[in-house]
Symmetry: C2
Subunit: 414 residues, 2 copies
Amino acid sequence: MMSGRRAQGCCCCCWSHLNEDNGRFLLLAALIAVYLTAGASVFSALERPSEAEAQRRWNRTLQNFSQTFNISAPELRDFLRRYEAAMAAGIRADALRPRWDFTGAFYFVGTVVSTIGFGMTTPVTVAGKVFLIIYGLFGCAGTILFFNLFLERIISLLAFIMKACHERQLRRSGLLPPNFRRGSAISEVGSLAGWKPSVYHVMLILGIFAITLSCCASAMYTAVEGWNYIDSLYYCFVTFSTIGFGDLVSSQNAAYQSQGLYRFGNFMFILMGVCCIYSLFNVISIVIKQVLNWLLRKFGCRCCSKCHKSSARLGRRNAITPGSRFRRHNISVETDGQYDSDTEGRRLSGEMISMKELTASNKVSLAILQKQLSETANGHPRNVSMNTRQNGFSAGVGALAIMNNRLAETSDSR
Amino acid sequence: MMSGRRAQGCCCCCWSHLNEDNGRFLLLAALIAVYLTAGASVFSALERPSEAEAQRRWNRTLQNFSQTFNISAPELRDFLRRYEAAMAAGIRADALRPRWDFTGAFYFVGTVVSTIGFGMTTPVTVAGKVFLIIYGLFGCAGTILFFNLFLERIISLLAFIMKACHERQLRRSGLLPPNFRRGSAISEVGSLAGWKPSVYHVMLILGIFAITLSCCASAMYTAVEGWNYIDSLYYCFVTFSTIGFGDLVSSQNAAYQSQGLYRFGNFMFILMGVCCIYSLFNVISIVIKQVLNWLLRKFGCRCCSKCHKSSARLGRRNAITPGSRFRRHNISVETDGQYDSDTEGRRLSGEMISMKELTASNKVSLAILQKQLSETANGHPRNVSMNTRQNGFSAGVGALAIMNNRLAETSDSR
């Protein structure tokens, strides 16, 4: 917000550029508010009758029970309060597995660091609660990093496979020479580097994988836990998405047949499911971001079209200005890169041209201002390249990408 | 993994580069496994006695109750089973707020899309469960995007503020000319673009903010809910980190004094807290990633040092090779950029030099191979720039950054 306000003095491009970031954020917040309101109405309509029904049923049960054994309502309520307290410590009418033996505690810490948080087991001692805060702080951070690295690995793998299919197509259609060496160094490099898979294809693949995984897991839970299949699917989604209500929790009974095998299967399904759904959520969020960009273009800034022409011309002029090796490369290449991905974009889906050319040219004009500034402030031209690269915001808004864009240590952490 | 295996044929640089990604991932997985084991042992030691105590207490209560009203154990167990079923529908001994009126349902969907998932309210109808799966899929994806955009905004703001302080320091020490215009276009551009704040400073600021927020929220909960302060802090962490056990849930009683105000305060605290802790987790995960890189360097690939020299020389040679405008810029600039951030790195903390120079030179050698490949496969040299940029992995491993690196639609989505 503040940066948006302070930017008023800057050139129109910079202003609309900053404004676009804030605009996207506020638009998303508004859409989420609408989404929540709609969801609340639907759930209220769906669940309210059953709530009333459950309340009636319980009142009847309570009345019968108190009449049968002539227990006064206060006595009974007091007894139930004690039972609630006991349940908080993991006690149920039917015997459950011990909460805090090693396997139980391991299950618990797993639900903590993954932020599933079923709540079937919770610390009750003060020491346990304090330790949980410290333990969870680093545990959750580590798991977020794990999920992000998994996401990187899985998308590398998908890109590799889809590139291989792409190559086969090209070879079929004869666009690739027959003596093209698959599996060789060059092919390897090309496979991982050259061609980018579509976000929709990756979303489709991850979606299919997630559904398959959930169905397999549900089959296991239906067989072992005796839940019906819909409940098992519901449990899989609630768990894999790390929501973790805790109304259904797997592997809680005191004993199962082939217990060790079931516990291992349960662990593997939850691990794979959480990683897979996390990746799927992130891919979907990319699509949502594109919808937001499309909406922003609809409301779109009129000033861009005329303002980008001038600065784009400026950009091209600067791109071929002779100067220090650093300056020529650093200023020109960013625009080249921008125009490349721009033409790439035009070739692929043809969207966001004006905004992208605006950003590209914007970067050039910024680069000049920054060169002056950085030479005044820090007094070495090399910083220009950092500035231009940083202004590109080309790394996107990913959690760690932000750090890489804006934090010093991360840019040399690899 | 597969990409790692396939890469054997590739040049040593590329191999060790891919290997490094897989190595970091596996190292983190191993460390998390150790962390979980240690945590499980500690929690088991802390909580086991209280579990046994609770069990004893409950058995006593049960025995007294069944003796006082001479109820057989099976009858009592059956009654308690019914009560558990009623509790799943949100019924408690002491009256709670309605589960599924609009405000209750809104609270519920909030815990779904944020993946907190207290479980104080859960759908019991089949329709509700099926709708939850569809609703949660897009809701959670949207919220992940919201958190990432919030992270981007908050770090922009922090960078802006810290840059302003940095400028004031420079002005005090007289490194900046007195006629340097603050708040002007140049200053604005410089503030947002030039200087990068330290990840440790951002972590410190976010940490202080998170602690302050939690303390304020805990004060409110202690006052309104009547929990003790440690419980309130524990509730704040469990909620803000989206673990959401549900053993303590705010705003569940049927009535509070100044209810509307409390519900609004509760909502705002949870919203701010979740965003803040999410950002903090991501900053901490960056630090964890640096530790992993440091560990990998410790185990470090010996071959890099000798192998980077040759290819680095190759890189410099290529950087000044006259050729098509695109090729010269695209190949050379990435290395320049690398060497810039490299020197930047050396200036700032001096870590990861060899690995970074390896990556830089690596990119150059890849660029040449890719140029050949892409000209065979796609037949236009512009792709080279995409390749070099993509191989840099300079965008880091952030959720959305991965997409920006590897998915086509995202590269032109802004």
